[in-house]
């Protein structure tokens, strides 16, 4: 029955494979270190957009505070990298400048690189599990949940600025060296760093795509429509909402950790409200209901910002806001919705043409 090619599952997977093949071949084409680093950063933004598509597009949970997991993940990774460059028993210089004499206890685990990376991913995920669990069990949803995520995001930014001796406040942490995994250095300006981000983006996008097609994904899409109805089918809606929110948090944490590796810098700017809302705009412009298109939306907007943003300076934010309004008004499904509509029209036209052919063939035999 399904004629619209957009809904053809095989073709969807094929499109994902082609796009990722193109993304994966970039380091084979160029060895421009600056470009590779920039494109890897886009990969991080793409991963953030995919994480928003999972919780907002699939689950209908509008999350304006994805910077929570992104920032926590970035801080975890930066702390790990910072401790890699410390001689045993020393403390980071900014702590000494802030009159600390000993390493704070919550910094201790970051001596160990493996543990540090695990914490960078685990702490934000657990935060999402607890916060999401509390909210969804109380049936907080829609705009109320979005406002709560904004509030937590702003609170975290304030906390990280206020705890100057432990976090270096607004200055943030800039580890002196690149991340070392065993003997291997992940130079942010190298094809290796690009591959790492690419591998993460590939893994999480395909995992999320599989998840969307699983029974779990079906229940999540159902509860986006009518959580009440889904409850009466025997599903614990709060658990499903918490799970999809925490999984999107894990992805954002991985994006944050990669971001710290790529920029060797983290600051409370990662908790900025504008940045988190930007992620939602990328996904909306690309198409929040499609993981792939949300990712492409991040590439488009950030790419345009890098090049057009330089030319337009502060006007850029106005252009971005205006394009968001245009998308909401005329393309509610983003570019993904546009492609879906076009392919639907093509399928319809084909169908009527076939009917017409059939009619005329009948006429001929008569």
């Amino acid at each position: 029955m399904e004629k619209n090619l957009y809904h053809n599952k095989k073709l969807q997977w094929l499109t994902y494979l082609v796009v990722f093949a193109v993304l994966g071949s970039v380091p084979l084409i160029t060895d421009d270190a600056f470009l590779l680093n920039q494109l890897a950063t886009y990969g991080v933004y793409g991963l953030l957009a995919v994480s928003i598509s999972l919780c907002w597009g699939s689950g209908g949970i509008l999350n304006l505070g994805q910077g929570i997991a992104f920032g926590l993940g970035a801080y975890g990774m930066a702390m790990t990298m910072q401790m890699q460059s410390q001689a045993p028993g020393t403390i980071p210089p900014f702590m000494a400048n802030n009159a600390l004499e000993e390493l704070p206890i919550f910094w201790e685990p970051f001596w160990n690189t493996g543990l540090g990376i695990v914490l960078a991913l685990l702490v934000p995920t657990l935060f999402y599990l607890v916060f999401g669990g509390l909210m969804f069990a109380a049936r907080v949803s829609g705009p109320f949940f979005a406002i709560m995520t904004l509030a937590i995001l702003s609170a975290l930014a304030t906390v990280f600025v206020a705890l100057q001796p432990y976090t270096n406040g607004v200055n943030g942490i800039s580890p002196p060296g690149a991340l070392m995994i065993g003997e291997v250095m992940i130079d942010p300006y190298s094809s290796l760093a690009y591959w790492v981000v690419f591998a993460l983006l590939l893994f999480f996008t395909f995992a999320a795509k599989l998840l969307n097609q699983s029974r779990f994904g079906l229940v999540v899409r159902a509860l986006k429509d009518d959580p009440e109805r889904v409850r009466f089918l025997g599903y614990n809606v709060a658990v499903y909402e918490t799970a999809v929110y925490a999984l999107s948090g894990l992805m954002a944490a991985a994006a944050g950790a990669s971001f710290a590796v790529l920029t060797q810098y983290v600051s409370p700017a990662q908790f900025e409200v504008g940045f988190s809302i930007g992620i939602v705009i990328w996904a909306a412009i690309g198409g929040r209901n499609s993981l792939l298109w949300a990712m492409l939306g991040a590439f488009m907007v950030q790419g345009a910002q890098s090049y057009a943003g330089d030319a337009f300076l502060n006007t850029w934010i106005l252009i971005l806001g205006f394009s968001f309004i245009l998308v909401v008004r005329f393309l509610p499904g983003g570019f993904a919705g546009l492609v879906e509509t076009i392919l639907g029209r093509v399928a319809e036209r084909k169908e009527t043409e076939e009917d017409f052919d059939l009619e005329s063939a009948k006429g001929a035999t008569k």
Binding site: L218, A222, N236
Partner: protein, 253 residues
């Protein structure tokens, strides 16, 4: 105190519920026998839908108890009550409008509700076969690919009945399942319900006495949130008190 099984697959005792000082359910008790179709009738505002809400966990009673197969289910969450085998169809048909008919039926096949296991499962065991069967039963086989939001009113009613059938609960709570259906569609529903009640227990809220006549084993009349009368349809129709408050004077001549 544990509800004994005698006389009750579902057992309701002294249920009370008020909304803003307005007593909607007033000391209501009911026993539902296994594999019977019991109709809840009564004038508007008698508390029929509220009774269904209280059984299925959408509302919690102020006092009173509900037992299912001897287990106290009062105050449990909706999903917990559903897992114990209570399925529900809403008065205003509640289907998942953004999903296709097929997806609606698939999600209603809720044998396994575990979040982790469902992450690693693409298809539920036995779902495809059941889906084919139910789709044929509710005459939606040709509409499986359609978006549920685009169905006609009658089709939407069928889809929700189909969802309840996919869920295959032990007891079905159906709130006006034939509202807005044509005569043909009603006849088909009667067929399905008469077959279903051999293996399932059904509580049905209904206004249409002609429909009730075709399916009901037992009729329970509610008035002002309390039980007014109970018995077979014949007994109910002869009952003077029922005639006075519900069937109205025009039927009393």
């Amino acid at each position: 105190m544990k509800g004994d099984m005698v006389g009750g697959f579902l057992k309701i005792r002294n249920l009370e519920k008020s909304f803003g000082g307005n007593r909607v359910i007033n000391d209501f008790s009911l026993d539902v026998t296994e594999c019977r179709l019991q109709c809840l009738v009564g004038p508007n505002g008698a508390g029929k839908t509220t009774t269904i809400d209280l059984i299925s966990g959408r509302q919690n009673p102020d006092s009173g108890k509900v037992w299912l197969k001897g287990d106290d289910i009062t105050g449990l969450g909706e999903h917990e009550i559903a897992r114990r085998g209570v399925g529900r169809k809403f008065q205003i048909p509640a289907v998942l409008k953004g999903l296709t008919v097929r997806e609606n039926l698939e999600v209603a096949y809720s044998r396994d509700t575990n979040v982790i296991r469902n992450m690693f499962s693409l298809k539920a065991k036995g779902c495809a076969q059941k889906l084919e069967e139910v789709a044929a039963q509710v005459r939606l086989t040709d509409r499986l690919g359609a978006e549920a939001g685009l169905l006609s009113h009658g089709e939407t009613q069928w889809l929700e009945i189909g969802m309840v059938l996919m869920q295959d609960p032990e007891i079905l709570l159906l709130d006006e399942p034939v509202a807005g259906m044509t005569e043909n569609e009603i006849d088909l529903t009667v067929d399905i319900l008469n077959r279903l009640k051999r293996t399932h227990t059904i509580i049905l809220v209904e206004h249409d006495m002609n429909f009730v006549r075709k399916i009901a084993d037992i009729v329970t009349v509610l008035h002002m949130g309390a039980l007014l009368a109970q018995g077979t349809l014949e007994e109910i129709e002869k009952n003077e008190r029922v005639r006075a408050v519900y069937l109205g004077t025009e039927d009393a001549h």
